[in-house]
Symmetry: C2
Subunit: 357 residues, 2 copies
């Protein structure tokens, strides 16, 4: 935050060409500021509009003068920032980008903007971002996951704005939740493999608890193994989220060395599963003949590779869309001075069977 020479202080500002204001436009048109304001805000407010002819004249003058309304002043005056903040673990993951796109589409339909931040899978970074966002007074906040620092939880609870946690089903939600059980989804995959005849099923996931979805998936694996009475303990942990493809490759090699009897492996995500699949090809291990491989997330690579990956399919965009729509209702309630009772929206998931198992 401060390891380079500070920028020039505001007081050093030279008097650049003064920016065009609403008053300038009003003067040029020969009306009051209020009339310009109304012409520009027509529709989104409850106020009486200007005559259509005048409105067009005002709009034309704005364009002529290169006037762009100052949202900073508008937000300040109206007490409405006009944006919703969303935090995702990383930008570079199509699951989360699709969620972000669903969110964007939903909130933009009501004239709100989505402001995106990424936490790098770190709750400390999340805390910092939550603070930075709250300073800008978002009308709502969408988080990925239900695991936060104590300070972050506190800020969120006191923020007075709607908060939605997505992608997980936290034990103690802040307010609203839109997601699914990562544990159940992974357990379903294990049951699916069992039904296909696999009995020596291993799991490859992260070594840290940074990624709470990864932790839940491992938990779901263990639960299913236990339920099915299969031999436990075949959990292979590598690195920390996001697990790259290369670590999936390393993991499957070491795993087969350690437990040669393993006939199937469930990976924490398609990326590691793909890495594992390619490593098997390099070593000449038939997939699924020698070992079956399953992933999670149905990323593009899962259906493009050969053989294609069996995986857990999640409606990522649906999570975003549902969150966005819930957020709009919550914001509407807040603007009317009420609080929307906490909701939990379950997003369905499915097992996509392909050639890798």
């Amino acid at each position: 935050m401060a390891d380079r020479p500070p920028l020039a202080p505001a007081s050093a500002q030279a008097p650049l060409r003064r920016q065009v204001t609403m008053a300038d436009v009003a003067a040029k048109v020969g009306v009051s500021k209020m009339t310009v304001s109304r012409a520009l805000n027509r529709g989104s407010r409850n106020d009486r509009s200007t005559s259509e002819a005048l409105r067009l004249r005002i709009l034309a003058t704005c364009a002529d003068m290169g006037y762009v309304i100052d949202q900073t002043a508008r937000s300040f005056s109206s007490k409405r920032s006009g944006f919703v903040a969303a935090l995702v673990p990383t930008l570079n993951n199509s699951n989360f980008s699709e969620t972000a796109q669903g969110l964007t589409a939903a909130v933009e339909a009501s004239g709100l903007q989505l402001l995106l931040g990424y936490t790098d899978y770190r709750i400390e970074t999340e805390e910092r971002l939550i603070k930075a966002m709250l300073m800008r007074r978002p009308e709502g906040l969408v988080l990925t996951g239900g695991s936060h620092t104590a300070a972050a939880r506190n800020m969120l609870l006191n923020s007075g704005i709607p908060v939605i946690e997505t992608w997980d089903l936290p034990a103690e939600p802040i307010a609203h939740t839109v997601g699914f059980s990562n544990a159940d989804a992974t357990a379903a995959m294990v049951h699916h493999l069992f039904a296909k005849g696999y009995r020596r099923i291993a799991f490859v996931g992260g070594a840290s608890d940074r990624d709470s979805r990864g932790v839940d998936r491992r938990r779901g694996y263990s639960r299913a193994i236990h339920e099915l009475g299969l031999p436990e303990g075949r959990v292979f942990s590598v690195g920390q989220a996001p697990i790259p493809m290369s670590q999936g490759a390393e993991a499957v090699a070491l795993l087969v060395q350690q437990w040669p009897e393993v006939d199937a492996v469930v990976c924490v995500s398609d990326h590691s599963a793909f890495g594992a699949l390619m490593e098997c090809q390099r070593r000449g291990w038939a997939v699924p003949g020698r070992i079956a491989i399953a992933g999670f997330g149905d990323f593009e690579v899962a259906k493009a590779c050969h053989p294609r990956l069996t995986t857990v399919v999640v409606d990522c965009e649906g999570i975003g869309r549902a969150s966005g729509e819930l957020m709009l209702r919550a914001i509407d309630a807040a603007r009317l001075g009420t609080r929307l009772p906490a909701e939990t929206l379950l997003i369905p998931f499915g097992i996509q069977q392909r050639e890798s198992t």
Copy 2:
């Protein structure tokens, strides 16, 4: 923007618990607002700070009262929004996310925030986003590519803030540029394949001109083919950006059918190259024996697949970092009332030879 019931008008706001202001904190501590303001802004401004003891007392009181400074009011008053806007074609592309991460790191070092928007590879969407961003008065704007609508160009030229175009080398830059020649990079790849002995080299790219980097790459391919005196015309166009892996697969199949003599194919990006590679495996065509495949971008999949993909390596994060640092200098100049002369920073690229060629 308005196809759902409008949100409640601001006037409908019920008097929720009034938000804590700086005056409240000041009253509690027994000092003036200005003292609180100074304590909170210490370092980032040129003003005299408060005594350390008092400052700590003020900070503690802020924490006690759950006070979070109102950046909306601060921006409004100081004429500094404290953020830089960046537009990328899509979030779901590690090249652009790395650029975004480099940018974030660079601007955060000076206490600025990065606000991200994605254009979906559409200059109309870009225009809309530029307008939305300018309303919020960013201190600078970073764009991907040099192709914009006329209206967008106009807004940018009149915005009065530093603008940087990245990833391309536009013929008529708005102001600053940080990028490389996509045409040169692709031409280098063709020359590389020629040096390896390939003579019947095809190109797979998009059918539309939505993605200006894709267009430049195709141009670079054609130029190199011409320079080398190779037979021209083997350009295969599919869909529009972003070309998915599946279209790379379709393309290579059709291409080999149409031009069976082809011995190497250059793809517009690693994604289509990977799709092509997998399709070859499905059909039992040896890569590079029957046909060699090259990509662009050095995405994770390029080094994880088998055989690994020969590709063009670009320092994506470096583009972001260089842009961020240039932006800081430009903002500093703007705050001092001057304008930084337009700079063009070239980011080097390289050919990464792997097993696919």
